[in-house]
Symmetry: C2
Subunit: 181 residues, 2 copies
């Protein structure tokens, strides 16, 4: 089965294509520069984006939107995670959390899939904490500062672990199951 | 002359109505809950918002969009200033700047006015620095941490000064001049 993944982010595409490939689903990238909706809701953002992507390509296509939600920062950077990463980076997040007692956070991904008729959603969440300092070089974005629950390493220190427990993994798993004949 | 100001922010309305009132322009508030465009450009955001407001009220109406742009943070929080204020507050901005050599920043306001035929823009900028700690209780938002260039006090410590030199003042001044018969 072939499917399009509309994304401007090559890292996201690589992670998703590798996962889906193992399940016999061949993903092609639809380069997609799209102005996202301004919203605090991942599903709402993904919904609008996949409608837009489908109107461009006219073929079954999915998008995903991911955010890092930090408890002590009222959910910041949330749905603006990519933007905040560009502006203040992991260094900024660590500064914001200096002295914070609660370092809990979660990543959440929402996949929206347009099959030509309707849109389905597949969400995945990964709970954890924000490390005291950036560690590791794998992955991208906030991976060097995110420590998944029950593990000592950051995502960037253990990319194999990331790819088997992450928010993106979980949402892709549900999504791939839905595609099974 | 009567004019509508479409805004969800009562503080902004008060500042603008007081200023315009002194110049014989009576501003009424159009309560306006609007999903802003996701953009790094104030004028683009204001343009879309005033078109939307005009489509609601069908009368001459203006909107304004304001951002605080901090040099050391690559322009953060910029066009997302209201959102960032809710999430991380002035405390968060001060943390982000701890140890920063460069504390320069500017406020910018862009007014977009729809006169029923076309849209005009009026921008105002106020340069300054971010204080080491919050001071003062007047104003709103980032006023307690913004020190305008050439003055020792924050906007929140000297609201009269703010109302005579601010980004909003400058943009309102240009706007009011354009309305003179």
């Amino acid at each position: 089965m072939d499917i399009l993944f509309a994304t401007s982010n090559p890292h996201k595409f690589e992670e998703a294509a590798a996962f889906l490939g193992q399940r016999g689903i061949r993903a092609a990238r639809l380069p997609f520069e799209h102005r996202e909706l301004r919203s605090d809701n991942l599903e709402e953002i993904a919904r609008e984006a996949v409608d837009s992507a489908y109107s461009v390509c006219g073929k079954p296509v999915f998008v995903e939107d991911t955010g890092l939600f930090i408890t002590a920062l009222n959910g910041f950077p949330g749905t603006y995670s990519a933007w905040a990463q560009k502006k203040i980076g992991n260094k900024g997040i660590l500064k914001l959390l200096s002295g914070a007692g609660d370092r809990s956070a979660f990543f959440e991904t929402c996949i929206a899939y347009h099959d030509g008729k309707s849109v389905s959603f597949f969400s995945g969440r990964c709970a954890g904490t924000i490390a005291e300092a950036a560690r590791g070089t794998s992955g991208f974005g906030y991976d060097p500062i995110f420590v998944p629950e029950g593990h000592p390493q950051t995502f960037a220190e253990n990319i194999l672990l990331k790819n088997n427990i992450s928010h993106r993994y979980k949402s892709l798993l549900e999504f791939s199951k839905s595609l099974e004949p």
